[in-house]
């Protein structure tokens, strides 16, 4: 049941989601919630362990003040429920009767033991779509293996190709395997939802985080192509044609991003860049190259390096803002590497209305959040409320929504079920 104040011009407003996920599934619920669904986070009494992930508000560890939790649980409501207890399971089944989606990240088999697996719940609600997110999926020899971001990134092939040759393979910053799993899980949920629209039937959606990472990685492409070259980590260079090229360039006070391209893809950039360098009298041999006819596949490393050195020296003479501002004027595809501060202060994001201030009454202040995933002329995608506190909406859901009496609710609370 929606609250009346909710904006009905959201895409998924009629649907309810029970979100029992840990950090590997947060983004799935967040996506559905931002698209307008009524997402209810179901935690165990006392709050989930995933509230203990940092960073924290004011740098002080506190399960009610995890910024990781804040970031990925906006727009959700929250209740506590012990689904391992008999009474808790019964309440859960009542909730399932009114739900359109369930999201969960338990180890395969856990919900079976509680008789809350998809095959049990679909009897109560044939339209139910249940989304299960696990490190390796619901079946197979690895199904019981334990995950962690670094494990997912390694097993999905991304680490082998990332990092410097003289140091260990590297994972990306942030828990990107969780983000990848979350968005694919939301995609799976909504593809299943489309089928439900056509047929009225629900189904079980099984997400493998390893595969979510693998789908991102290009490491396996040469193998698929039958080349037998396993690309390895080479710092910041990528093999294009026969030479290694870089995207990240140092400059006076940081780094900028520019991609060396040949022929029709690169001629505009090269021409503008050489003109700019030449204005400073430093273009040298770059002036002699016919950039329109450069064939990337025929360049030697020595040739590429001789050009790159001039470009690198030029960037080193300038700051990242000087380079970005001038590049934009000249129609060159160069942007700086933004730090979190740069991101926050970006005039581009501000002009798009990307930031929204959400009240945190419990902290007596508001916090700035990314506002949307997309913009539309017809519907809104916005952050309307902060992430729930532990059991914040127990009364709303248990009393108003499923009609527990005050007495029943008090008893459940006393027995540590809610």
């Amino acid at each position: 049941m929606r609250e009346a104040a909710w904006d009905i011009r959201t895409l998924l407003s009629p649907y309810r989601v029970l979100d029992l996920t840990n950090e590997t599934g947060f983004m799935c619920g967040k996506m559905l919630a931002d698209l307008g669904a009524d997402v209810i986070k179901v935690e165990r009494p006392g709050g989930d362990d995933s509230r203990k992930i940092g960073p924290f508000y004011n740098n002080i560890s506190d399960s009610q003040k995890s910024l990781y939790w804040f970031a990925y649980n906006t727009n959700k409501r929250g209740i506590t429920l012990d689904i391992e207890s008999l009474a808790g399971r019964n309440i859960f089944r009542t909730l399932v009767g009114k739900a359109d989606f369930i999201l969960e990240t338990y180890a395969p088999g856990y919900l079976d033991k509680l008789e809350l697996s998809y095959s049990s719940l679909k009897v109560l609600n044939p339209k139910l779509i249940m989304v299960s997110i696990t490190p390796f999926g619901q079946t197979g020899p690895y199904k019981d293996r334990k995950g962690a971001d670094i494990v997912h990134m390694a097993e999905g092939g991304l680490m082998y190709i990332t990092g410097d040759p003289d140091r260990p393979p590297l994972r990306m910053g942030g828990n990107q395997s969780h983000f990848l799993a979350g968005i694919h899980a939301a995609a799976g949920a909504l593809i299943a939802h489309y089928y439900r629209m056509l047929t009225g039937q629900g189904q079980h959606v099984d997400i493998s985080i390893q595969e979510a990472v693998l789908r991102f990685g290009y490491s396996i492409l040469p193998w698929i192509a039958g080349r037998g070259i396993s690309e390895t980590r080479r710092g910041n260079v990528v093999l294009r044609g026969n030479a290694y090229q870089r995207d990240v360039w140092s400059c006076k006070d940081g780094y900028v991003l520019w991609r060396f391209m040949g022929g029709i893809w690169g001629v505009q950039d090269w021409t503008a860049l050489v003109k700019w360098i030449d204005e400073k009298g430093k273009a040298g041999i770059l002036k002699e190259v016919d950039w329109a006819t450069i064939d990337m596949s025929k360049l030697s490393q020595a040739e590429v390096d001789s050009w790159n050195n001039i470009v690198q020296d030029f960037f080193n003479d300038h700051t990242k803002d000087e380079i970005q501002n001038e590049a934009l004027k000249r129609g060159l595809k160069i942007l700086k590497v933004y730090s979190p501060k740069d991101v926050f202060e970006s005039s581009h994001l501000q002009s798009r209305g990307y930031w929204t201030h959400i009240e945190h009454p419990e902290l007596n202040r508001s916090i700035t959040y990314p506002a949307f995933i997309f913009l539309s002329n017809e519907t809104s995608c916005a952050v309307n409320r902060r992430a729930p506190l532990i059991g914040e909406h127990n009364d709303q859901i248990y009393k108003k929504d499923i009609g527990l009496s005050l007495l029943e609710a008090e008893k459940l609370k006393k027995d540590c079920i809610i």
Partner: protein, 402 residues
């Protein structure tokens, strides 16, 4: 019946960030028509490696990764009748996807207002690098640029070295998946309300959500998070460790003190493991470098596969740093799940294709081969648009179909 049976998509997109969305939809059963141009072909048709090193628009082995399951029509949009055919396809479709950047569709008179005249409830999706509005909107860059502006480069790498890829392609990969979610939701909305819409989705907006906690850390605490290698604040050890063999590595992630005790036992409880500085998570983090060296002296005696199995059996999160070869030929889990499949293709022969990380119990995905350039010109004109054979012939003769 397929999950997306009957869903009709016109796909104007090219390169990577757009095409993956259409391929995803196609593999789950949508009919996706890719509008292509022989004069300005999709960059991915021009990308090495090529089958048998043959540099040809139908021989790139990279193209199928993003375009499996689609139908291809080569339409000359510089020709008035080319635009007419495009409009007929839009009238037929449920969803139109494009990624030309702001103003791209308007150049052909195919912007949202025009499309609504053809089809009142059209869902038009524009995927771009930086969005359709704002000072950087006209910037036509690569995935690297969206990753850069989103702060992903800044936080990936070693603290004492420059930012490190692979964020380069990250926005290219996460944006189409997110776009797919929005499309599905917009279809539901249209079903309920009868209304279409225009959707502006950018690689930047999506990628920023992937580092939302880092952004909040700055917004709230003014902490400027920095790249920190494999370090985690929530687990230690948490790194890749050298194993037996050439460039063989395992990863181990220990988040609780209980797991740490188990790991010490598995290592045979050498003397150093009893040092009190390693007994708590904060202690291990404070002495991480020393700990990693001691760990590696142990791991390098084993194969990564053997070690991962041993640790997993004891309840510790561990794995193998898998190479492309490991994944394609030796991964028992992927084999069990049928992640890779072989497809037959007229020019590429038998090629291996990836699946999706999403298994639907009733309506699983089915991967189909990618189209040759313009392969479906006749089918699309005569069977979908119901043009006569004569009309089709004249479109070919007049260079409308290239």
């Amino acid at each position: 019946m397929r999950a997306l049976q009957g869903l009709k998509v016109v796909d104007f997109t090219w390169v990577v960030a757009g095409p993956i969305c259409g391929a995803y939809l196609a593999d789950f059963g949508a009919q996706v028509i890719k509008l292509e141009s022989r004069g300005h072909p999709d960059l991915c048709r021009l990308s090495s490696p090529y089958k048998d090193d043959k540099v040809d628009l139908d021989y790139s082995l990279g193209f199928p990764v993003f375009n499996n399951g689609k139908n291809s029509i080569t339409l000359n949009l510089g020709h008035r009748r080319g635009i007419e055919i495009a409009k007929m396809l839009i009238a037929w479709s449920d969803v139109v996807i494009e990624n030309f950047g702001p103003g791209g569709m308007k150049r052909w008179g195919l912007d949202y207002d025009e499309l609504r005249k053809i089809k009142e409830d059209v869902i038009l999706v524009s995927i771009s690098n930086q969005g359709q509005s704002g000072p950087l909107s006209t910037f036509k860059g690569w995935g690297i640029h969206a990753a850069g502006v989103a702060g992903l480069y800044h936080i990936t790498g070693w603290p004492d070295r420059e930012p490190t890829a692979p964020p380069d392609v990250y926005p290219d990969v996460v944006t189409p998946v997110t776009t797919l979610c929005v499309i599905m939701a917009a279809l539901d909305y249209r079903q309920r309300t009868g209304r279409g819409q225009y959707i502006d989705i950018s690689q930047l907006d999506v990628a920023l959500h992937s580092i939302a906690p880092t952004i909040l850390d700055y917004a709230v605490n003014q902490n400027e998070q920095m790249r920190c290698g494999n370090h985690s604040a929530d687990a230690c050890p948490n790194n890749a460790y050298r194993c037996k063999g050439d460039e063989r590595w395992c990863v181990i992630s220990v988040s609780t003190d209980e797991e740490w005790k188990t790991l010490c036992r598995l290592m045979g409880s050498p003397k150093w493991t009893s040092m009190s500085k390693f007994s708590t998570l904060p202690g291990r983090i404070a002495n991480e470098r020393e700990l990693d060296e001691l760990m590696e002296a142990w791991t390098c005696r084993y194969t990564p596969e053997g070690l991962a199995l041993k640790l997993q059996k004891a309840g510790i999160a561990a794995g193998v740093v898998k190479t492309g070869e490991d994944l394609v030929y030796r991964d028992p889990q992927l084999r069990h799940r049928g992640y890779f499949s072989f497809l037959n293709h007229p020019t590429l022969g038998k090629y291996m294709s990836q699946g999706w990380p999403v298994k639907l119990s009733k309506t699983p995905y089915v991967v189909k081969r990618s189209p040759l350039l313009g392969e479906d010109n006749e089918f699309i004109c005569t069977k979908i648009l119901n043009l006569s054979d004569e009309d089709f012939a004249s479109l070919v003769n007049d260079g409308v179909l290239q």
